[in-house]
Structure formats: structure tokens, C-alpha cells
Symmetry: D2
Subunit: 308 residues, 4 copies
């Protein structure tokens, strides 16, 4: 599969199912991929934040790549997060991912270290030059210290350094500026990670969506995408509102007892487990597991959405 010059549609960030002893559960991962492909996904994004990439040792990241790329076998494009602190570490991950057959790389700004737009620009340029692969910028200011300025994204896109944007910034004004600029660019795809405003993003002209909740209900996001593409904004809105209600599952975990990552990723995995797609709902160490009643809260949201 070569990456299309404009990647469109629903590209879920694939959860990474784990065994009770925290190894990658490849059988469950394959079932999850099937679930996403059968749901109508247009691509897959592995090793992103929703995939718990920050928690996976390199060996496990390779297992995810090999399992997904091998199973998908070119049916649809696979993007891989190559998430690490700075340039040369990212390049190492990129080489592994490209050797494993992924179609594009997803790269954040540097983190852990304090950074600057000029350093971020150099980072993306070096990653692109050293790998020769399509690079999507991953705008993720909850994880890294810097919101990517829209002007920087479009500048790098214009240079051919970036092949796309995966925007999880929540800054819709900045996102929209990139969407508008992208109309003049070829070979640049604009994807939103804001799963509660997909109808808005598509109405603006975004190419596609990378919804974490798409693990749980890929068909819902595909219906939403197709309604929007058909110009049926009323149906798109209704589907989005249904998904917004479903999304509330992420508040399952008690915030006095765990962080938002444990709660949200725990909820997605609990939902996949309740739906029979993965064998074990465990999240990676050191996240805190959901309690029985917290899992029930997830179940109620599934039931209300007609997914149980």
C-alpha cells in the first residue's frame, strides 16, 4: 500500500491490547484490527497516544508494527507513531517502523526538553531528511510543551517536509488555518483527532479523522464521515451527538484515584473487552485499573449506544 496523496476518511488510532502480564496480546490486536477494518476504516494509526505508545518498550512497539502491518497486508495504509523525545531517537523508531512496512510516520515536537519553534522546525526537517518517508506532524500539546503554530505547519508542508497533520490540539482556529492553507498544497492531508467535533472539522474541509473512540465504534465514525461527505449535515450531527454521549465513558475512573489517561484508555479497553473484541482490558504500567463499578459505568454507556 502506498499512502494516497491525500489520506481521507476514518483512521482510528489503534489501541494496544495487553495480556494480564503486560505483553502485547497479538491475537486480540488482530481481532481489533479486523473490527476496525470491517467497520469501514480508511487507514490505521498505530503507536499513537491512544495506543499507549508511551508505555511500550521498543520490543513491544515492534510487535505491534509486525502484527498490524502483517495482518493488514496492504489493504489500507498504516501510519505509525514514532514517539520519542528528540530527533535522533525518533529516527531510530522511524527506521524500525519503515523496515516493518508502515506507510507513514507520525511525529510530535520534541519533549522532556524545553523547546522553541526554530528547534521544532529543525526537528521535522531532520526527521524527514533522514528517513525519506512521509511525515505527519502530531500536534499534541497535552503531551509536549508546545502547540505547533499553524504557520510552522504550513511552512513545512510547503517545503515538502510534512505529508500531513494529525491535530489533537483542540485549537480549532489554528486547525482551520491549516485546512485553508492545505487547499493550495498537494500531497498534504489534514486529519483531526478531536473526536467530538468531526462534523465541524469535515465541514471546514478536513480530510479525515483519527478518533480514539473509533476503537469502540468505528462504524459510527464511518457513518458520520459518509454523511458529511454526502452533505447530509443533519445526519452527521446526529451521529456525532450519539458519539459524544458515548464518549462520556472516559470519565469512568475516579479522578481522586487515577489520572485522565488511566480513566480514558481504561474505558476504551473495558469497552472493547465488554464487546468481546479483546481478551483483557488491562492498561499498561503504571496506570491504575478501573474498578468493577467503573467498568459498569462503561457498560452503561455501551448499552445506551446500542453497542452491547
Amino acid at each position: 500500500m502506498t499512502l494516497p496523496s491525500r489520506l481521507t476518511g476514518v483512521v482510528p488510532p489503534v489501541c494496544t491490547p495487553l495480556t494480564p502480564d503486560y505483553e502485547v496480546d497479538t491475537a486480540s490486536l488482530i481481532r481489533l484490527v479486523d473490527h476496525l477494518v470491517e467497520g469501514g476504516s480508511d487507514g490505521l494509526f498505530i503507536l499513537g497516544s491512544t495506543s499507549e505508545v508511551a508505555y511500550l518498550p521498543d520490543r513491544q512497539r515492534r510487535t505491534v508494527i509486525d502484527t498490524v502491518v502483517g495482518h493488514v497486508a496492504g489493504q489500507l495504509p498504516v501510519l505509525a507513531g514514532v514517539i520519542d523525545m528528540t530527533t535522533l531517537r525518533v529516527v531510530e523508531h522511524a527506521r524500525t517502523a519503515l523496515a516493518g512496512g508502515v506507510d507513514a510516520l507520525v511525529v510530535t515536537a520534541p519533549f522532556y526538553t524545553r523547546t522553541h519553534p526554530a528547534e521544532v522546525a529543525r526537528h521535522f526537517r531532520e526527521v524527514a531528511a533522514r528517513t525519506g518517508a512521509p511525515v505527519f506532524a502530531y500536534d499534541q500539546p497535552v503531551s509536549v510543551p508546545l502547540k505547533l503554530p499553524s504557520s510552522l505547519i504550513t511552512e513545512l508542508a510547503g517545503e515538502g517536509v510534512l505529508a500531513g497533520l494529525k491535530d489533537s490540539s483542540g485549537d480549532e482556529g489554528s486547525f482551520r488555518a491549516v485546512v485553508l492553507a492545505a487547499r493550495e498544497l498537494s500531497g498534504f492531508s489534514v486529519l483531526t483527532g478531536s473526536e467530538l467535533t468531526v462534523d465541524s472539522a469535515l465541514a471546514m474541509g478536513a480530510d479525515g479523522v483519527v478518533p480514539g473512540l473509533g476503537n469502540v465504534d468505528p462504524a459510527g465514525y464511518v457513518r458520520l464521515y459518509r454523511a458529511a461527505r454526502a452533505g447530509d449535515w443533519e445526519e452527521a450531527r446526529e451521529e456525532q451527538e450519539r458519539l459524544l454521549a458515548l464518549f462520556r465513558m472516559i470519565h469512568a475512573g475516579d479522578p481522586g484515584r487515577m489520572g485522565m489517561s488511566s480513566s480514558a484508555l481504561g474505558a476504551f479497553k473495558a469497552a472493547l473487552h465488554l464487546r468481546g473484541i479483546i481478551d483483557c482490558p488491562v492498561t499498561a504500567v503504571p496506570q491504575i485499573p478501573l474498578s468493577g463499578s467503573e467498568v459498569e459505568y462503561v457498560g452503561k454507556h455501551l448499552a445506551a449506544a446500542g453497542l452491547l
Copy 2:
């Protein structure tokens, strides 16, 4: 060398000299280690933030460990940062570092992911249990999303999970609470990374200091430490004030052109180069190099401190 039950004195975080093509310059690294040991250091901290650990691929991290541990050969304890996003990734680095012969591990809270004190506690407990090695907590809120609460540090110290604290939080009230609690603990060392208030920290009862600026002037920090230990607070203060003036070199870089990391680490390396200790002042990609006039600014600070 076994780690002493209380690590005291000056423990510089060792810069990582690089070649012009961004490989570890082992000859320069060995000269830097000699410079630090001859300056009177009581231990070495490799692969911390000052070492540009965030920029070094695993292969380069191993080179640093092998070079420093091999050269030091047990003369003084070597602590190694095992800096990564979450538990299992940290444990991988820890195994490499321990196999390489380091005496203790330095571990931050999880980063990239949003976290919670309960998750941080689980993180430190798991790292300690899975490695069996002495673990220093690295309190570094400019790099990770969470200041380590003093109550959490002392709780983990009391459990035997932590062997020490390397505090770069700048929160002196919290630091002092740990210093006081540490009087009741055995096998727990409290080190400050706040290089401008070392006399204060020692007067409070801190065990030692991990000063980035100690790369440039280890003997200055050793004089400061010894004066404080001798109760000569006036001399300690004067030495500290001299070092505070020298520290201003970190503002060499134009903030419109680069981030604080490029400027400060660039200044330390420029100073080491000007002093003839390392061959090349380059900082890792994607940091921005200092200009000629910015290097001159560093040189003036060295000259004023009598170090040229």
C-alpha cells in the same frame, strides 16, 4: 564502588561531548571526567538533563555508560539517568545501565502521558522492584508534568523504594520538608540540583549537590561544599555568589532564535571547549548552535571568573 548509604558532596551531571557529526566524543568525555574527578567531585551523574539524555539514542547512552564507568573504574560512584516516558521503558534503560556497571539509577515521574500521584508511586515501586537497584527520584517539573509531592517522596523513602532524591524542582519549601524527614531515614540521600542556592541547601542539611555548572567549574562547587561543611558560611556564600555570576553564561543564546536548553547547554559546552576540555562544543539535534558573538559572551563570563 558500592553506593555509600548516604551519598554526599559534589556530584556533577556530566555533559556529553559530541563530535561534529553528533556522535559521542569518547576522548573528550574521558577528559571531562578527569576534569571533574580532579576537581574533587564525590560522584558523577551521567545521562541526566544536562547530559542531553533526551537527545541520545540508546546506542549513544550505552557508549556514555561504558566510557564513564570504564574510565572511573570504581574510584567514585556513578549514577545514571534512565530517562524515559513510563515504567517498562525505564526498566529497559535500567537493565542496560546496571549491566554497564552504574551504581544507582535516577528516575523521573512518567511523562508525555498525563499522570497522577498514585501512578507516580506505582511507577517508582515497579522500577525499584523490577531492577533491585538503588533508585533516586528525579524531581524535574520543567520536563515532566508533575512536581513530586514531598510527602510522596518521603513515603517511598520510608518503604525503601527510594535511595535518594535529586531535586531540580526549585521548590525549596518542599525540598526542605524532605531534608527534615530524611534525618529519620537511613540509606536516603538528598541532593539539590538548584545550583544557585547550594549554600542554602547545605545549611538546611542537604547531603550534596548536582550542579550543571559544575562541569565548567567543579573546583568552585567543591570549595563551596567544603566551606559549608566546615561551617564557614561566609566563605560558602562568597563562592556561591561567584558561581552565580558565572552561571549567567546560560543566557548566551538569543531567546528569539533558540530555546533555553540550546542556550544553557550550548553555553556549558562552549565553556568546556574554550577551557580546552572538550574538542567540539556542538549540542545535539535539533538544538540551535550559539553564534560567534554568543560564544564570546560565554568567554567573558569565564574570564571574569578567572577560568580562562
Copy 3:
């Protein structure tokens, strides 16, 4: 004018024109109000952030209220920001504003002090109880330390404490949750302050918009609003995109020389001056004035939008 039970449409936050010696220029303010009313505005929001409320002494705030309420004379509703640090100070402003004849109050969370959702809830309840007036929550996390949780807003709306929301949080997921909840509420209006995504907000079901840029081009926002209400999303999008290009004027000021407030408010006032609506473009002390070339940058944006 009584506030309608659901306030809809375009409600510009009215700039406060000043004289060269920093007094309220009431003649210019009246011309600006006329410009906004003639442009088709459905209400006016005075003494908000765009009005430089933070810069106006109480005396000047009263002048603004008297001037605008007196001139509008009940033609359309006037909302007034009663912006201060905590409850009793807000209540003082509220009494003045209500005595001056405004139709509703706009209230932020407490600021300067560190706060908590329980304190924010108590704050809104006390302001509503002590004034008996319609209270709009002003969600403005760039100015106050806390994003208002959507669950708190809807809880207070359900209690009758809040009559509406003016959302400048930029958190569209949270905003949408309030929009959905508001369908079950009577007497609660949801207004967005995110002026670059008005078509999106209206498509979600928002009642209206409070656009700072509406000072410069109220008719544009009115066209956008009417197109959206007519279900002509294509025209709404095109109008929004034109306004997005115009909005770039806010980057007129050199960020090395001034803050974002000086730049954006300076640009709006420069535009109003260039358009002949106000006599003097000065912003309040201690903001930094735009230079001649920075004003030219504003002028080019006006010209490109056909507004000169």
C-alpha cells in the same frame, strides 16, 4: 428591553474607544454602537475582555454603561461584564451595572486567587442570589485560572443560577456538551466567543456568537449568522473563511515588543480608526501601541476584506 428567554444572534463585545489621554471617548463609543446596531447586531456585550474592562477604572466603566445603555435605549439587549476577582467585588460592579440599566451580567470564575470548582459554584450562586439578575457565565481560561467544567455550567443552569454561557474557552467538546444539555433547559442561552468557528458552533446548535472581530465587521458576522440559520452552510463557511483571513490582523504587533492583548486589541482599534468609526486608536495603559508599519499591516487586511 428585557432579555429574551433565549438570546440569539450576533452580540459583539463592544470595544471601548479612548481619547489620547486615556479617557473614554463617548462620541466615538456612540458611533461604534451605531455601527454595530446598523450592522445588524442582536445585542451588545459591554465591559468584556475585548472592551479592555481589565484596564478601566470604575468611573470609566460607569461611563461606558451610561453611554451605551442611554444610547441604545432599549432597542436591543445590553449585557455587561462585571469583571473582578471575587464575589463581593463582582456584586459591587453588578449593582452599578444594574442601576445603569443593563439587561444581564457576565461573570467569570474568581481569579488572582487560586480556586476550586466548589468555590466557583458558590461564587456564581452568590452573585445570582445577591443581584437577582440574569447571569451569564464567562468561560475565559486565558484570564482566570480555571476552565469552567461543562458539568458545572449545566448544573448551575438547571438550578436557575445561570441564564447563559459566553464561551471563550476554545474547548469545543466541552462547549458542545453544554449546547446539548441546553436543549433540555429553558431560559438558558449558549453563546460562543470563538470567532473563527462560528459556523461550527451554530451547526452544533449554539444560540449566538460574541465575536471580538465583530467590532470591525459586524455585517460579516450577521451574514454568517443568517446563512447558518437559513441552513446555507456553504455560504456560512465562505463568510467564516473571509472573516478568518481578516482576523489575522491580530498578529500586527511584534511579539518581541508587546503582548498578545496589545497586538489584538490594538489591531481592532486601528481598524476601527482606519474605517473612520473611532477618533483615536489608542489602547489603555500599560499596553504598547502599534507602530506605523504595524497599523499598515492592519490596513492591508481591511483592504483585502473590502472594508476600506
Copy 4:
């Protein structure tokens, strides 16, 4: 009382006792002032953060000024916080305070609005020029969006704009830079608000301390100050450690139920009430009151410190 050219010693930020219906309790305030003066205070700081200035309407601020200035009657200098969002609002408060007879003004950077160092400089210059009074910069980054750069403070001090610094930034390196620069300045006083590191600050060369906890135990801070001035650093350290233990009372309040301000100010007022100095421990609206068991927690700390 004229402000001495260098203000030294212990200058407590005076709590504002309230009646059960949230009016200033002037009888209790006078008793508190007596308690502070008898404890050996060298000056008083009214209307700062510890005084709940953010919560007091202008009328109540005037009552505090009149009560304290009238009662003190020139025995010791009285500094007043003139805390508001921007320049002209601050100047209004300043005129009231100066008319009421205070000896100096304490001024923060602008807040609510986004600001910039150039605007902060203009702010301080304008406040000083428009009032003609001694101005202390109040560095309070938990309340305002910007840490005052040490270089800006010393620049304004050198110009004669600033008469001193009240540093609550917790950034001891920056504080120390000001202390060193102040040696070359006349008529500039450096006060720390970091009540847990007063011995450190005095050892560095600070002139004095503004300790919130000094409301509860002024004599303790006076002993600490005098020991430090006498060069008895061991006694100073012991007194500081006793006060550090006492300070833990600020954690009385349940963080799930209230913010840090409610907890800390509630604890100080509960302690003053338990010690019989003020009649009612209530904090201003919308803070959350301490529960009975939370007040007991405060009482235990008082008892342990020998203050009950």
C-alpha cells in the same frame, strides 16, 4: 512614619478578620495588629494576598487601611497592597491608600489580561510616576500570569521606580540575583515572602521577610530574624524548622472539597481564633470553610508548637 530607606526585619502580611456576615471585624483587626506589634514586627503589610485583598470590596479595603494606619499611628511603617488588574485601577487604589496614610505601595504585574515584560515595565513606571509614592514590586506568579524577571526588577530599581521587592515567586535563583544587585542600590529593600526559607534568604543578604505564618507566630519569625542577624545560623535554622512544622497547618482543608487558598487562609484564621486573637475564623466568600475536624488539625499544630 516615613519608610526607612532600607526596610528590614519581619513585616507580616496582616490577615483581615471578618464578622460572620463578612464585614471587616475592626476590633479583631486591632487585636491582631497589637499581637503583631507586640511580637516584635518591624512593619506591617496590609491588603496582600494573605489579607484576602482579592476578596475585599473597595469599602472594606478602606476600612482596613483606616483601622490599621489609625491604630499603628506611626509606630512602624505600613505597606499596602494596591492589587488590581492594570495600571489605572491600581492608581485608584493607590490614591485611596496614600490618602489613608500608608507608607508604601505593593504592586503586582498586570493580571486577567495577557501581558509582556515591556508592558509590566510600563505599568510599574506609570504607577510610580502617577502616585509619587514608594512602590514595592510584588512578585506573585501563582496569582498573575508572569514571573517578574530579576533583570527587570533591578532595572526599575536602578531607575528609582521601585523602592523594594516582595518576592513570593519561590524562584530563589532569581531572588538571589536581586539581592546581589541590591547591594549596589540605595533605597531598595528586598523582602522574601517564602516563609519556609527565611534563614536562607537572610543568609543571602535579604533585608526582611513577609511571612503569612507570622500572623500566627510573629515572635517565632522575630526570633528567627534576630538569630540570623546575630550570625547564629544554627539557632535560626532550628527556629525555621519549628515554623516549617507549624506551617503544615495549611494542609488542613480537604483538597477534594476546597482550593488551597481556602485551606491555607482558613488555617491561619482558625489558628488566630483558637489563640483568642480574632473573634471569628470565617474566610471571605466564596471560599469554603474548614470543618470541625479540619480546625482540630490546625489546633494540633498549634499545640505541637507550644502556641496553645
